[in-house]
């Protein structure tokens, strides 16, 4: 049936929430309003539920091709729609690296076969993510890539980064920068500070992140190009971005739920599920991240969904892989920690998790509007539940949030008017 109506929900609009119905026809939002007539439409009763524009995660790792034992496009897409995401952008650190049109094309076609959420590949900045030779940015864009990034690795050579930003601007392709000075990281595994000393684990200085944030801001400012800062985790990085924005630098930035919910106190248990890059920081950083989200310094919330096999986490902390499987907990953690605590309104949460990513990357969706694409996420904000990685559809069960109580359960994920996930049967 190509006609559906979401009846009686609370619609999360840019200006605020309002009660209303949403009529979906042929994959588009046909009408929004009170008591919309819907002859012959399938009625989905969403009374008591909140209707969001389809959530967009512009930073995930789907691991396919090459690391299908960690995750693949099918399992990652299933996890995404369970997490409320209608559109996701996958990073290129696969094997082979997504640094050419063929791999981009493979991901696009494989995602279409799976047919759950929209998967938008991000191409590599440099061939093999080796930080030397520019990848074929134009060809990748033609094949479906929406941005470029060497995520997982920094582009250490400033000259290469400069050339990438200049060249990509010709194609209006945004560089998503993984900010990390490898020399300063020097084998570190957790934030450098009290807890790294307490646990005897090698620390990563905040300076490793902030120096690269500063460099990329300076490059963008010098060249007049755009830059997007990935997974911001420190107070200093937030401040650098805030100041740059005030000067008019074309910088945007993202953070992840774990950076505004957890501190590095969690690493003292040696639980490798707390190992993530950049590392969990301290309370003042968490406060700064929240402030950055509130004042608009940080434009969007992404998951940096980084699924790993249990064997890669059930080892010594130093040997464990970096990363958190986050796509199924992102909405609830964000709602619980940002909206319920009064930092963001629901509208602004929708902006961080849908509107801003759509705008930054020029994607469809991001807003509930008549004539717009019918990418819609419906959530129940009233029920408290406990996160359990056993429930994950992602192959990666690596989360430090098992046992955490949260509000905000995804009830429906609708992509192009089709219900791709529903929790209502339970």
């Amino acid at each position: 049936m190509n006609k559906r109506i979401l009846r009686g929900g609370t619609l999360v609009m840019p200006q605020g929430c309002k009660k209303g119905d949403v009529l979906i026809e042929n994959g588009k939002i046909a009408a929004i309003g009170d008591a919309v007539a819907a002859d012959g439409a399938e009625v989905i009763d969403v009374s008591g539920l909140h209707v969001f524009p389809g959530l967009i995660d512009m930073h995930v790792h789907l691991r396919e091709p090459g690391f299908e034992y960690k995750e693949d496009i099918a399992s990652g897409s299933a996890a995404a729609v369970r997490g409320g995401f209608t559109q996701i952008c996958c990073m290129p650190n696969t094997d082979p690296v997504c640094d050419n049109a063929a791999v981009v094309g493979y991901i696009v076609s494989r995602a279409k076969e799976v047919g759950l959420c929209k998967v938008r590949p991000i191409g590599a900045i440099t061939a093999g993510e080796e930080g030397q030779q520019l990848a074929e940015i134009g060809k990748m864009q033609k094949a479906g890539a929406v941005a470029i990034s060497d995520d997982g690795k920094p582009v250490m050579n400033s000259r290469v980064m400069r050339l990438a930003m200049e060249y990509a601007s010709d194609f209006n392709m945004l560089c998503l920068s993984h900010c990390e000075d490898k020399n300063l990281v020097d084998g570190g595994v957790v934030n450098e500070g009290y807890n790294s000393t307490l646990a005897g684990l090698k620390g990563i200085s905040r300076a490793a992140e902030e120096i690269m944030v500063a460099r990329d801001i300076i490059l963008a400012e010098t060249l007049g190009t755009r830059i997007h800062i990935c997974h911001v985790s420190t107070k200093g990085a937030v401040q650098l971005i805030r100041e740059a924005k005030a000067r008019g630098v074309r910088v945007t930035a993202e953070t992840c739920p774990h950076y505004f919910t957890l501190t590095d106190d969690a690493v003292v248990s040696f639980d490798a599920n707390t190992k993530v890059n950049p590392p969990l920081r301290e309370a003042e950083d968490v406060a700064a991240i929240k402030q950055g989200l509130k004042d608009g310094t940080l434009d969007c919330i992404v998951t940096d969904h980084a699924p790993h096999h249990a064997d890669e986490k059930n080892v010594e902390y130093n040997l464990a892989a970096f990363g958190i499987s986050g796509i199924e907990t992102s909405f609830a953690l964000s709602y619980t920690n940002l909206v319920k605590s009064g930092i963001l309104t629901l509208s602004r949460l929708a902006e961080k998790m849908s509107g801003a990513p759509a705008r930054i990357l020029g994607l469809s969706g991001g807003e509930l509007k008549e004539g717009g694409v019918a990418d819609i996420t419906v959530a129940d904000l009233s029920k408290e539940y406990t996160i359990d990685s056993k429930d994950f559809l992602s192959k990666g069960k690596n989360t430090p949030f098992t046992g955490t109580k949260v509000f905000g359960k995804i009830q429906y994920t609708i992509v192009d008017g089709q219900v791709k996930f529903s929790d209502v049967i339970k």
């Binding site: 500070g193 807890n195 790294s196 005897g200 684990l201 080892v315 010594e316 130093n318 040997l319």
Partner: protein, 311 residues
């Protein structure tokens, strides 16, 4: 009360530390009087699982186990096998299947003993894990201090050297704070870890401030690769500004003792006249190490069978 494992001084209460030291008194007496072995670990197996080279710690544990009648097995895995070989958890399962009672693990990575302990039935003793802890070294240091001073209250312990990479300094700090001593640390800024003051240490700004009135002067071994890594310029510069020379001891309490976990780089952390002086406890520490490790093995195995100490 001491649990299944001894993972660190961070996890061990002051009361348990004192119990271990008290038990070690009897053990030292047995050692110094050349008495017959104790039978308490007869029929039990103590395995040393070392992913790092160590002569004295392994030897000390092995002797301690043998004095208590245990069978010992030594497994040496090179550091590189940590990356390539069997996982630590699988090694633990294997050792458990062979009915080990105690596994002493030394590992280049912090938290490895904690991971192992979570997955094995055997008692796990941390024989040194990365930059984290070396609890039995700290216990033998405490034993040595208590033997000399009787109590920890008001004791000033000065630790000089590579604090950042030192599990010995960490374990000493955790334990000594619980026991009521003052700990003063001194190192080049490149070798001082962040946040150490929040753990209860006082960080000194000069050698004189460090040593002033100190009852215990402890040097830490400096690894040559730290110099190669650029953390300090040369050994002779290190000795001049951060090492202990005989003239430096004038700042310390006149009854002070000199300690070092060994092996010492003569002329770097401590000069030879300091090492060989009458108040140097460096050799005594080695003997105390066997006694303390006997006490730890004894108490952990006692816990395993749930027996009660009489009287």
């Amino acid at each position: 009360m001491l649990g299944k494992d001894l993972l660190g001084m961070y996890e061990t209460s002051a009361e348990d530390i004192v119990t271990i030291l008290d038990t070690a008194v009897g053990m030292k007496k047995l050692l110094t009087q050349n008495l017959k072995k104790l039978p308490h670990l007869q029929g039990r197996t103590v395995t040393t699982l070392f992913y790092e080279n160590s002569t004295r710690t392994r030897c000390s544990f092995e002797l301690a186990a043998k004095y208590l009648g245990a069978g010992t097995v030594n497994i040496s895995a090179s550091s590189s096998s940590v990356q390539k070989g069997e996982t630590l958890i699988d090694t633990g399962y294997t050792l458990d299947a062979m009915k080990n009672d105690v596994i002493v693990i030394r590992h280049p990575m912090g938290g490895a003993p904690h991971l192992l302990a979570k997955h094995v039935k055997a008692s796990v003793i941390n024989g040194g894990d990365g930059m984290n802890e070396h609890p039995t070294q700290a216990l033998l240091d405490f034993y040595t201090m208590r033997e000399k001073f009787g109590s920890f209250h008001g004791l000033k312990v000065a630790i000089l050297g590579d604090i950042k990479h030192s599990r010995v300094a960490k374990s000493n700090l955790f334990g000594l704070k619980k026991l009521g001593a003052e700990v003063v640390l001194y190192s080049p800024a490149t070798l001082m870890p962040q946040g150490i003051e929040r753990l209860g240490a006082k960080v000194a700004r000069s050698k004189q401030e460090t040593l002033s009135g100190a009852n215990v002067v402890m040097g830490l071994r400096i690894q040559l690769e730290r110099m190669q890594g650029g953390l300090f310029p040369s050994l002779s510069e290190y000795n001049q500004f951060y090492g202990v020379q005989e003239s430096d001891l004038a700042y310390a309490d006149k009854d002070c003792i000199v300690m070092h976990p060994g092996p010492v780089n003569r002329g770097v952390e401590l000069t030879s006249d300091v090492i060989d002086a009458g108040n140097s406890k460096i050799t005594e520490q080695v003997l105390n190490g066997v006694a303390v490790r006997m006490a730890v093995l004894f108490l952990l195995v006692k816990n395993r069978q749930g027996g009660e100490v009489r009287e």
